[in-house]
Structure formats: C-alpha cells, structure tokens
C-alpha cells in the first residue's frame, strides 16, 4: 500500500511537470489550436458589424421608398 501511494504521488509530481510544459496559463477553448480561433472570432465580429450596418441602411431606404 505504501508503495502504491508513493507511485501515485510520483505520478502526480510528473503531472505537474507536464502542466508546466504547456506554456501559457490561459487554457481556454478559443486559445486552442495556436489561437487561430481568436482570429476567426474577430473576423466574424467584423462581418456581423458590417451586416448590421447593411440592415440599418436597408431600413432607412425602405422608409424613403414608402414616402415616394
């Protein structure tokens, strides 16, 4: 039993060593794959912003069309 505990403790020690090997402390989903998903998110945000602008222009044009 003592041997088993020692082995387990040794294993935990190595686990800690592996954890340090990861580098950055931020381990989020978006941070995976060398953080390429951060870029994808930003491009998506820009597209959403521009599309929202398109919708607002559309609304203003509709009003103009109704008046004429």
């Amino acid at each position: 039993m003592k041997k088993f505990t020692t082995t387990l403790l040794m294993l935990m020690l190595t686990l800690q060593l592996f954890a340090q090997g990861e580098g950055s402390a931020i381990a989020d989903t978006l941070a995976g794959s060398e953080k390429i998903y951060v870029v994808v998110t930003c491009v998506a945000i820009i597209l959403i912003g521009l599309l929202a602008f398109l919708f607002s222009i559309e609304r203003r044009l509709k009003k103009l069309e109704k008046k004429s």
Binding site: T41, C42, L64
Partner: protein
C-alpha cells in the same frame, strides 16, 4: 464619390488580405501564436476610423468657411461611419486581449484612451441632437469637431507612448516592426489597411447619399 473603380479596388484588397491573412505564413511568436493574424483585421479598423474622422474634420473646416450645409452633412456622416469602425476595433481588440493578455479589458492605457476617444465622438453626435436650429447646430458642432480631432490624435498616439502599455509600440514595448520585420506580413498588412480604408470611405458615401435623399423628402 460616384465612380466605382475604387470600390472594386477596396473589395479586391479586402478579399486578398482576408484570404492571405489566413493562409500566408507568419513568424512563430510566443503567446500570440497564430492570433498575430488579427493584425490584418483589428488594426485596419482603427486606420479606417482615423481616416474617416480626418475627412470629418476637413468637412467641418470647409463648413465654417463656406456655410454650406452639404459640408456639415458630410462631416456628420463620416463620424457615423468612423464610429462603426471604432466600435469594431474596440470589440475585436477586447477579444484579442482576452486570449493573449488574459482579460478582455485590462485597463491598458491605449484601450482606455481609445474608449475615451470614442466617447468624444459620441458626445459630438449627442451635441448635434441637442440643438434644433440647423445653422447653429452645424456651426457649434463643426467647432466641437475641430477640437475633438486633435484630442483623439493625442489620446491614441501621444499619451499611450508616455506610459507603460500592453500595446506594441507604446511604453517599453517594441513597435510592430518587431513582428512584421517579416516582409511577407507587410505584403498583407498594407493592402489590408488600404482596402479597409476604401471600404470605410464607401460606407461613408452611402450614408451621406441616403441622408441627402432623406433631407430632400
């Protein structure tokens, strides 16, 4: 304003910079890793905003010398278009910061001052809404705009350099040259900036034309 060659140029440049931005190779960097590609999307937003605000201040000066309402309308519409890009820049910056600096808003000097610069221009729009008389509104807001523009330049380019900032090129941090010494990155970054500036100008012309139609009704 009504010709389309520069719109096509802007579209082609943005298409090129998006595709090359994802596929071209980037230098290996610690912490940033592949997110350095955000340089092609986050930074051009700010360039587009600054160009649009410059157009606005030029139109405001023109208004004061000519008293032509068209100049006033151009000034306000370019601020409207610039604010779209400013907000996109802030949001993409916050997302990028979340995964490289650890927090979306780490009260970095440049982040704070960029937010204040946006507030300056929100104040411009609110000031306009507060005045009913057309001539008075145009004149007062033109003068405010002329004061707001140098404030924005100081907030974004001068003050962040005087203290420590997480943004590259400010405080003790190295400038972007440290990243894009790689000439391949420059080949994408400069077209991206030009392309987004042209798209921003296009948005401004659309806003101006719609508002001109609304006035004629």
């Amino acid at each position: 304003m009504y010709k389309s060659w520069w719109k096509i140029l802007g579209a082609v440049l943005v298409m090129y910079s998006t595709i090359a931005g994802f596929l071209a190779s980037v230098p290996p960097l610690p912490i940033l890793h592949q997110s350095i590609r955000n340089l092609y999307f986050h930074v051009p937003m700010w360039f587009a905003m600054i160009v649009l605000f410059t157009i606005s201040v030029v139109q405001s000066i023109k208004y004061l010398s000519s008293n032509n309402q068209i100049n006033d309308s151009k000034a306000v519409q370019s601020v409207n278009a610039g604010i779209i890009f400013g907000i996109l820049g802030l949001v993409t910056g916050a997302v990028w910061a979340r995964f490289t600096w650890g927090q979306a808003w780490s009260f970095d000097v440049k982040q704070n001052f960029a937010a204040i610069a946006m507030l300056l221009y929100f104040a411009y729009l609110i000031l306009r809404n507060a005045i009913d008389e057309e001539q008075k509104r145009a004149k007062i807001s033109a003068i405010y705009n002329i004061f707001a523009f140098p404030m924005m330049v100081v907030l974004l380019f001068v003050l962040p350099r005087l203290s420590d900032s997480l943004h590259p090129g400010n405080g003790g941090n190295p400038g972007f040259n440290a990243y894009d010494l790689d000439s391949r990155m420059r080949m994408v970054f400069y077209p991206a900036c030009l392309g987004w500036i042209l798209i921003g100008y296009w948005i401004y012309t659309i806003l101006f034309r719609v508002s001109a139609l609304e006035k004629n009704k």
